[in-house]
């Protein structure tokens, strides 16, 4: 049932959509029927694959870079208390600027290629990672820190062997959020200016009234997002295997 249920929901939604288009006789350049989109998948499969891979690469690179950046910032702010007063306002400021507003600037500075999109995705991703990990690193059982102190543990060891593992559940939450917002950054970048990618394909085709192909691109984007989320979720669950899960018996 766990696998069947989402498939049933998807099938139901597609059927309703198909029925709506048939009953209403909506023109396909406004809302194409799913059957039409399916045909498009077959006809333009290579195009979708090319742009899909391009966007996937941007998102994955952005995710790696953003998570590394966010984790690095959180660790630095925790380890060097003096940095907090200077670092936190800069981080908050970076999130106060809407990513839509700086997208054209990033394209201007970093070019129409992949780099500006990776930068955009990292910008969206690093914040949930940094803030959740930072919180996790600071919310540690003070008893553990006392124990470490009596054991003469150096600060670096306390950070890496106590605070970091203790913060992994919080980090996992941040990483899951990051995975679900990661496509936003890349696609915005592609809308503003690009030569490839699903966002580019969508704006290009919508401008020409080729709504069906734009819809196909949208579906590829959805699948990418869901796959990314589940991949990150699987990694995070593995990292926090020691956490008691709901429904598991405890002695």
């Amino acid at each position: 049932m766990k696998v069947v249920r989402p498939l049933l929901i998807a099938a139901g939604l597609l059927l309703a959509w198909e029925a709506l288009v048939w009953i209403d006789e909506t023109p396909h350049f406004i809302l194409p029927a799913p059957s039409r989109v399916a045909v498009e998948f077959v006809d333009r499969g290579d195009t979708l694959l090319f742009h899909g891979l391009h966007t996937a690469a941007e998102i994955v690179l952005g995710l790696i870079l953003g998570v590394a950046l966010g984790a690095g910032i959180a660790l630095l702010l925790t380890r060097f208390a003096g940095l907090r007063a200077w670092g936190l306002p800069i981080i908050v400021l970076s999130q106060a600027v809407p990513v839509f507003a700086i997208a054209p600037l990033l394209v201007l500075w970093l070019g129409y290629g992949m780099l500006s999109k990776v930068a955009m995705a990292s910008l969206v991703i690093f914040f949930p990672v940094a803030s959740s990990l930072y919180d996790g690193l600071r919310r540690v059982d003070p008893g553990w820190l006392d124990l470490a102190r009596v054991m003469n543990a150096p600060p670096r060891a306390v950070l890496l062997r106590i605070r970091l593992p203790a913060a992994l559940p919080a980090f996992a939450t941040g990483a899951r959020v990051a995975a679900s917002v990661a496509p936003i950054g890349a696609v915005i970048g592609e809308w503003v200016g690009a030569g490839a990618g699903l966002g580019f394909l969508m704006t290009q085709q919508l401008g020409r009234g080729q709504t069906t192909l734009a819809f196909a691109a949208l579906i590829v984007l959805c699948v990418l997002g869901v796959a990314l989320y589940f991949a990150v979720d699987a990694v995070m669950t593995r990292l926090t295997r020691w956490l008691p899960r709901d429904g598991e018996a405890r002695s």
Partner: protein, 259 residues
């Protein structure tokens, strides 16, 4: 038995003129206490009297307020010679039992000492009744087992001074008795300060028992039973010690809170 004996002789410890205030309230002032070498000293008192603060001062977890003086009789600093066991087990949920016992060596990144401690840790776990559970995560162990792991972690460090803060307070009565026996046997030869609010625990485990009471608190003259700990919980001797401790606690309470 050699595995549990600390590498150096346990020193006696002298606390003089200790003073500590918490949230503007003076918990104790001009308090003095001697911990005889290689013996277990119990500090018995009601909750909130400042027992834990005194223990934390000795552990170096609280900054001493002048004119507090805490010295080991051998003149060497206490840092690095003290092991600490708290009321909660403080096990790291992501490490298995063995990993938790050896956490101190990992934290100090001392590979040579870690390798040497490995066999000792396994032996300690076996002697605390946890053979076969070395690879189990804390979440899969019972409260008593977890506290046994904490005891093994305290002992594996081979530190001559052990400070215990109500280490068995959260266990059921039967588990508590068996862990008290275990701890008393394994801690023999170390200078131990055991803080507790349980008169029976103090009566069973202390070479010396002091009652700590009052606000600011003071420490009374010790009761020194002639028999060696751990004492049988049901023997009339132990019960007589317990009764005497109860009487002293009640007296101290009456003195501190005039009717």
């Amino acid at each position: 038995m050699s595995v549990t004996v600390p590498r150096e002789a346990a020193p006696s410890i002298h606390i003089e003129r200790a003073r500590f205030a918490f949230a503007g309230r003076r918990l104790f002032d001009d308090l003095s206490l001697n911990l005889p070498a290689g013996r277990t000293t119990c500090l018995l008192g009601p909750s909130g009297v400042g027992k834990t603060s005194l223990l934390r001062l000795i552990a170096g977890l609280l900054p001493p307020e002048p004119p507090t003086r805490i010295n080991a009789a051998d003149g060497k600093p206490l840092t690095g010679r003290v092991a600490w066991m708290a009321q909660t087990d403080l096990l790291m949920p992501w490490l298995d039992a063995l990993g938790n016992v050896l956490i101190g060596y990992r934290l100090r990144s001392d590979a040579a000492a870690l390798a040497a401690a490995q066999a000792r840790a396994l032996d300690l776990l076996a002697r605390t009744g946890l053979a076969g559970r070395e690879r189990d995560l804390p979440a899969t162990l019972s409260g008593g087992m977890r506290q046994r792991v904490a005891l093994a972690r305290t002992l594996v460090e081979e530190r001559p001074v052990v400070l215990m803060d109500e280490p068995f307070g959260q266990l059921d009565a039967i588990t508590r008795l068996s862990l008290q026996d275990l701890a008393a046997r394994m801690l023999a030869g170390r200078t131990v300060l055991l803080v507790t609010h349980d008169p029976l625990e103090a009566a069973r485990l202390g070479h010396r028992v002091h009652v700590m009471a009052g606000a600011p608190a003071s420490v009374g003259s010790p009761l020194e039973p002639s028999s060696d700990p751990p004492r049988d919980a049901t023997s009339t001797d132990t019960l007589a010690i317990q009764a005497e401790l109860m009487r002293r606690l009640a007296d101290a309470h009456a003195f501190a809170v005039p009717a």
